[in-house]
Each structure stands twice: as structure tokens, then as C-alpha cells.
Amino acid sequence: MEARKRRLLIPVLLLAGLAVEAEANPRKIYDRHSASVVAVTYYVETHFMRQVREVEGREVGVLVGEDLVMLNGIVITSSSTGARPHTFRVHFEGGAVVPAAYIGRDEFANVAFLRVEGELPEGAKPLEFDPRAKVRVGDEVYVLGLLPENLHPMVRISAGRIVAHVREPKSFLVTDLPPDEALGGPVFSTSGKVLGVLSELGGAGPAFASGFGGAEQGYYGIILTAQTLQPLIDDPPRRGEVRRAWLGITLQALTPDMAEYWGLATRSGIIVNSVIPGSPANAAGLQEGDLVVGINGGPIPVSQEDHVPIFVEQVGSSGVGSELQLEVIRDGAPLRLEVVLAAAPKSRLDAEQYSSPEFELTVRELVFSDYRAFDLDPGFAGVLVSRVKNGGWSGIGGLQPGDIIQRVDEEAIGAPEDLKRILEAAIDNQSRKLVFFVQRGRRTQFITVQPNWEES
């Protein structure tokens, strides 16, 4: 019965397919969807010949809601000084330019969202992704990207193919579409369906793929599909709000060789290298040296170091407060542990910051990763200098990016707010001298900052 039914259906489907095919050639895709593609420009600090410069960046954006623009997360991570990009502008086909505000970024998919703050030009319409769109290896696909600046029209279309469907360690589609000028651009099937957006295998790609790229291998485009993107579009990530869950361990891959060495039945998993005090893993009783070989009844597909981000994402995207069943091997004996996930610590990009135009100094709060990077004791208090103009008062005094300010004069500094209070008081009083006590590397020292009020 089943077989006969299918046979009957095939000719019908083929006809329908041909009809759609005929309807959606690349020209039509270009004409229909160009108005959803925007150029996003912004300014970001970058080191240039030992100096810090504000440089303009330009990325492909996609209008995905009435006032919502989605683009590659590289826009947020590209600064070499760690400063935030600013002055976002959305350029529409036809010349309209509208300012936009940064909303947030999803670190797993590595996509960022902007809110357009102004009237959209006539004809601009959000793109709708099709979660049912299907393509196979060998199929032709198209991407809409951007031409270099100041050319009109600005949108271009490129054709490519699905060159592989990777299944391990995770399922994703690889294309030969060039990710350079079209990173973040919408990808279409030959039938005109919106499959997703173009990303890459490597640094600008999703977190799980960040370890696989590299210029020496050439750039591979991969497709972020509607399944990944739609939940983010429906409820965009907001800066400062941590949705990512964490266990609170450092880990390495449990390779097949190691599993064999220890006489284990499994071929993959992770090894707990350390447990962070006060973390969910700590509360659940996970210990250094534990082998985690299963999660919620399923395997952990981590058999080499490059696959570790997959486990991190598996945990991270489980949701804050969710419960995980971990299959653990401790000293050769199996063990089951239940972990209730907590919100991951704030990332560097979300740290509170304070910038003083007078002192030409920007600091930010210390976040968890800083405590690890600088090997700080848990009780350590201070703020991190994220940028300093070398010709400003702070720079002349000798403050450097990476310094951790612990005290100014006699006052302890625990948060950017503390420094703000002190520097604003110094401005009110026209203070002549401030003595900063900072940690640089693993050494402390005093630094004198001497404002020159006459000059300003």
C-alpha cells in the first residue's frame, strides 16, 4: 500500500518541482529579495601600527523583522582593543540610510541583531526563512551579498552548490559560495526558498565550527539554517542578558585512544580537568578527573579536541535551570549525576564599562574569564583598563590597556562605577594628581596621573 501510494505521488511532485523551478530563476530571486538585504556600517577601534584608530566596518545585513536586522557576529568581535562598535547605520538598496542600535549577539550561531531606529524606506520588506526548505549535495544555491561601497545597486547575487552535508560531529551544509563578500547574506534554493544565511567554517562562523577553519584550508561557506535562526529572530538575544547555561568545568576530549587505554566501552566523551568552585558541576559533585560519557541518555559526540565546542554548546543551549543527567566514570566505576544548570558568567563583551573623555580612559568590570586569564584570587577587586589614549593624561601617566586598577589614591576600586565617582570628583575639584595602584601582569605598581586643566 505504502509503496504504491509513493509511486503515484512521485510524478505529481516532479511536476510541482518543475513549476517552481521555472518560476524562481536567479534573476527573480535577485529582484524579489534585494530589498531585504542591507549594508550595515559601523565604527570600531582597531590597532593600526601601534596606534588605536577608529575604522569603519561594513557587513551584509538581512532585514528579518519590521525593524530587526540580522548580521554576522563578527561585527561585535572584530575590535582588536575589545571596545564596542558604535554608530551603526543601515543602508538600504536605493540609498536610504537609517541609524540602528545594537541589541545583542548569539554566541553559538555567531549572529548579531540590530534594531533600526527610524522609518524604513518604501519597499523594504523582511525576509522570511523557510524551515521546510530542503537541499541536497550537488544542488545549486544562491546567495545575495554586497558589492564594494558606493556602487548602485549595491546587492549582487552569486551562485554555488551544496558541496557536502557534514554529519559528524554535527550536521551542517557546506557550500562553495564565497563567504568573503556575502558573509551573513541570505541563501536561496533553486526554487527560491530562503534556506538560511551564509556563514563560514572558522572564526566568523558558529561556535562549533570556529576550530575548523583557517586561511590555509581556504574559506568554506556553511549555511546557518532556519531551524537555528528562527528562534533567535522570534526572541533576539539582548546584551547583558545571559541565556547560556554552564556547568562550570574545564574539559578535554575523551579520545578513542584514551578510552582504550582506560579500558572503557565508549569511544567518546569528555574529561573533567577542573571544577570551578561554586559552579553547578561543583554542586552536583562532579570532580576533577571524572569522565563524562553520556548526557540525558545519549552519547557525547566528542572524540577529538576540535569537537569540544559541541559539548559546550550542547550544555550551553540546554537552558538555565534545566536538569542534565550525566553518565560519569570515576575511578573505573559508572556513576550517575544530576546537574541543575545555572546561567554562565557574564562574558567580556557584556561587561559594564565606563569611559572618561577627560582622562581618555576606558575601563570595564572584571568578568569570570578575566579571573582565569589573569590568575586572580576569587576575592580580588578591581577594574580592567580596556583602552587608553597614549597622548591623554592617563596615557602620559603610564596607564596601559590590560592594567587592573585596584585603588585610586586611598579608595578601593571594585567596579567601573567607583572609578567614575572618583574621576568625576577629580574633575569637579580640578585635582592636580591622582595615584593609581594597578596590577600589570603579575606585578603591582603605582602610576601618577596628572591632569592639566588649563590645557583642557
Binding site: 580537568n273 595602584f437 606585578r443 603591582t444 603605582f446 596628572q450
Partner: protein, 462 residues
């Protein structure tokens, strides 16, 4: 009219210029001949003691023991055949070939080295040498140098031996940041300022003498700013003399350590109410002698033992560190310091500074190299203790790299055997090499985590 004005001016200028040249020439004719004589005399005193040094140096940073021949300079300073050179030239040498002023070659052995001052001492082996032995050069007093004083640099720039260059002392007490590191990784230059000279110093001049017009060695040429014009730096002779003496006597330099870092007071005098000078403590190592005696950052050292101490400027910092280093190890000294306006006293018992760097060992069958961990290495890396051995290099394509070992990892266990020091590591390595085991599990410390590294030794390729 307008055209005429520049002319008289131009003529006058010509005349003055000509006069200058004339008087200049006549002055140089007499003084120049005198100077030339002095230069020849100074040359004759030191050139025969000059040595071209060609050590074969060891390097483990690639994970295997690499040997390479380098060229530097040196000068004979004792009739027994002791030669001073730089640590970065010969401090880690296997064996050394020296070429004397008469172009004869003589073997030499490393007596000892001191990375902290970048000095090393070699001893020429005259057992098979029957020609005339080289004379010895004399040290001058580097505390009496003057900016503008005429000097000569002798050595083998770019391996061109017996080269002499000429210039003046550009400054007598140049401070160079003590964050500078030797190619082998050790901090250097903590205990001295530098003689800066415009006498040409190029790679290969390292270890050669800087000489005054009397032919005395006033410094050992050690560094230059590359791509700059004539910015060379010499270690002052008074520092050299003390270090060399110590190496000849004991094979090494023993120094005291109390665990304080200091900074210049200059703009901070008011803030710290420093009325009578002092040395500002910028950091104290927690478990160091100073830390245990209660000292902390912000304290102002006034007196150390019988010596009043003060440092307003960076140029005075190296001398303070040296005065601490020169204290006898294990001695209790009384220290006066000021904190918040009140003068306090503390008794500090000095500890040994210890070796800046450990001993290297090539773990050939496993494809990496390790180094023993010294106290100074542990301090630099914020390690809690000295347990284990430090991975100094990992060989590309070897079992260790395949297993994920990385430089700076600390090997804490081999299999189930704990590793406390290099000796224990060597023992386990030898035992396991004899058993021809195919799998060896290392447990390493990387930053604040432990990590497993599985070595597969049976990859079949031979």
C-alpha cells in the same frame, strides 16, 4: 636691490665656514696626531687579548636538542686563560672554539654563566697550544666614565673577527627595562644600567670589550638597537669584574633575594610623604622574606642594613636591586621603612635568589623537552610549588604533539608515578624506555587545570 642682500650674507657665511675648516684642520693636525697615537697604544694593549668565540650552543625549544654554531666575541682577562663573554653567546654552550688575535685556534670550556647580567666565563685550553699566549686585558673603573669620552669597541661584527670601531660614550647610565629577556627566556639586566655608545656594535660584537683611550676594558658590549644608528650598550666593567670573579671562584653567582619589587619615587614623593628619599615598594611576593616580615606595596624603604637607600629615578633602581643581591644569603638584616608617615622596622632574613632557569633534558623517544623548575621560574609563572617538570618544547609530529602536549605544560605524573623533579622524571623515563611500553599516560598541569596526554609510541613507521 633685493637681489644684493643675500649675497653679502652668503659671502660672510662662506668665510666663516672656511675659517672653521682651517682652524679645524690645524687643530686636528696636532691633536689628531696625538689622538691617533693614543688609539694605537690602547689598541696594542687590548687587541692581542681579543678573542673570536665560536660556541656550539644547545637549544631545546623545538622539542629536540638542536645544536648550532654561533659567533661572538670575548676578551682574555686572566693569565690562566679566562675569557669573559656574554651569556647569550656561550652561556649554554657544549664546546667552544676560540680564535686568538694571531689567528690561532684554541679550544675553550665553559666555566660558568650568569643570565641575570648576561655574562659568561670561558677557560682557554692551552694544553695543545705552543705559540705565544695572549696577554690579559685590564678592567677600568666604570664609575668614572663621562659622556663624550672616546671609546673603542672590539670584536667580531657579523663574524668579521679582529674588528675595531670607534666612538664616544653616548650616556653613562642608560636604564633599559628589566622585562628584557634573553633568547633562552631568562630575564636579564636587572642589576645594572648600561654604557651607551655610538661606536658601531653589530651582531657578533656581543661579549667583546669596550675600551677607553688607556686601553682599559670599561664595559662588555652586549646589546644594540637593531635598525637604529649606533645605539650600542655595554655592561659596566665594575659589574663585570664582580660577576667574573664569582664565576671563577664558585662557578656561579650567588645572590640574595627578599621578594620586593620597587619603582622610582619621582612624582610620588608627596603622596607617600617621602621627605628624606627612600625606595618605594611597588610589589611584595607573598611568601618571600619581605612578605613574611610584613612589608607591602606602598611601603617606603629608608634603610637596609647599614645602608640608606633612595631611588627617585629609574636609573637608580638597578643599583638598589644589586645592593640587595649583594647581601649574604641567609643573613638577617634590619630594615627601616615608612608607612603612612610612621617609621617602622623589620628584620628580614635573606633567601637565595636561586637559578633563573632550570636544567634542560631531551625526552627523545617521546618527542619533547623538559626543564627543571627553579624558584624564579615558579614565581614568574605563579606556580604554588616546584613540583613537576616544565615542557620547554614539543617536537612537531612526535608522540607528545599527537597527544596534545604543549610548551609550558607541567608534567606532574607519568602513568601513576608522581614527578617531583627532573631527577625523578629522568628515572621514570629511563625505566619506561627499557620496557618498550606502547602507551604512556602523562598528567600535566596547564594553567589551573589538569590534563591527560596519551603518548602512542607504536605508530609503526619506525
Amino acid at each position: 636691490m633685493r637681489r644684493v642682500y643675500p649675497l653679502p650674507g652668503f659671502v660672510v657665511a662662506l668665510v666663516i665656514a672656511a675659517a672653521c675648516v682651517c682652524t679645524g684642520q690645524s687643530a686636528q693636525a696636532t691633536d689628531g696626531a696625538e689622538l691617533q697615537k693614543q688609539i694605537y697604544a690602547a689598541r696594542d694593549r687590548v687587541l692581542p687579548a681579543l678573542v673570536n668565540v665560536q660556541p656550539v650552543v644547545r637549544d631545546f625549544s623545538s622539542g629536540t636538542k638542536e645544536k648550532s654554531r654561533v659567533t661572538g666575541s670575548g676578551v682574555v682577562i686572566r693569565s690562566e686563560g679566562y675569557v669573559v663573554t656574554n651569556y647569550h653567546v656561550a652561556g649554554q654552550s657544549e664546546h667552544v672554539i676560540c680564535t686568538l688575535w694571531n689567528k690561532e685556534r684554541v679550544r675553550a670550556k665553559l666555566v660558568g654563566g650568569d643570565p641575570l647580567t648576561d655574562l659568561a666565563v670561558l677557560k682557554l685550553d692551552f694544553s695543545e697550544y705552543e705559540k705565544k699566549r695572549p696577554p690579559t686585558a685590564e678592567f677600568g673603573n666604570s664609575d668614572e666614565l663621562q659622556t663624550g669620552q672616546i671609546v673603542m669597541a672590539l670584536g667580531s661584527p657579523f663574524a668579521l673577527s679582529r674588528s675595531l670601531s670607534f666612538g664616544v660614550i653616548s650616556t653613562t647610565d642608560r636604564y633599559l627595562s628589566a622585562d628584557f629577556r634573553l633568547p633562552s627566556g631568562e630575564r636579564t639586566g636587572i642589576f645594572n644600567t648600561w654604557i651607551q655608545t655610538d661606536a658601531a656594535i653589530n651582531p657578533g660584537n656581543s661579549g667583546g670589550p669596550l675600551v677607553d683611550l688607556s686601553g682599559s676594558v670599561i664595559g662588555i658590549n652586549s646589546r644594540a638597537f637593531m635598525l637604529a644608528n649606533n645605539l650600542g650598550f655595554s655592561i659596566p666593567a665594575n659589574v663585570v669584574r664582580q660577576v667574573v670573579e664569582s664565576i671563577i671562584q664558585r662557578g656561579r653567582v650567588e645572590r640574595s633575594w627578599i621578594g620586593v619589587e620597587v619603582q622610582p619615587l619621582q612624582e610620588l614623593e608627596e603622596f607617600f610623604e617621602a621627605r628624606a628619599g627612600g625606595v618605594l615598594v611597588s610589589d611584595v611576593e607573598p611568601d618571600s622574606p619581605a612578605g613574611l616580615a610584613g612589608l607591602r606595596a606602598g611601603d617606603l624603604l629608608l634603610r637596609v642594613g647599614s645602608r640608606d637607600v633612595s631611588a627617585r629615578f629609574y636609573e637608580e633602581i638597578p643599583d638598589f636591586y644589586k645592593s640587595i643581591a649583594d647581601l649574604p644569603v641567609g643573613e638577617s638584616i634590619d630594615v627601616d621603612y615608612q608607612r603612612g608617615g610612621a617609621v617602622r622596622s623589620a628584620r628580614i632574613t635573606t633567601a637565595a635568589y636561586g637559578r633563573p632557569s632550570g636544567t634542560d633534558f631531551e625526552v627523545r623517544d617521546w618527542g619533547f623537552a623538559v626543564r627543571s623548575i627553579t624558584k624564579q621560574m615558579a614565581l614568574e609563572r605563579s606556580l604554588d610549588d616546584l613540583r613537576g617538570v616544565l615542557v620547554s618544547g614539543v617536537k612537531g609530529g612526535g608522540p607528545a604533539e599527537e597527544g596534545g602536549l604543549a610548551p609550558q605544560d607541567i608534567v606532574r605524573f607519568v602513568g601513576e608515578t608522581p614527578i617531583n623533579d627532573l631527577e625523578e622524571f629522568r628515572t621514570v623515563y629511563r625505566e619506561l624506555s627499557a620496557t618498550e611500553r606502547a602507551r604512556i599516560m602523562l598528567t600535566v598541569k596547564r594553567r589551573d587545570s589538569s590534563r591527560f596526554v596519551l603518548l602512542k609510541l607504536d605508530n609503526g613507521e619506525g
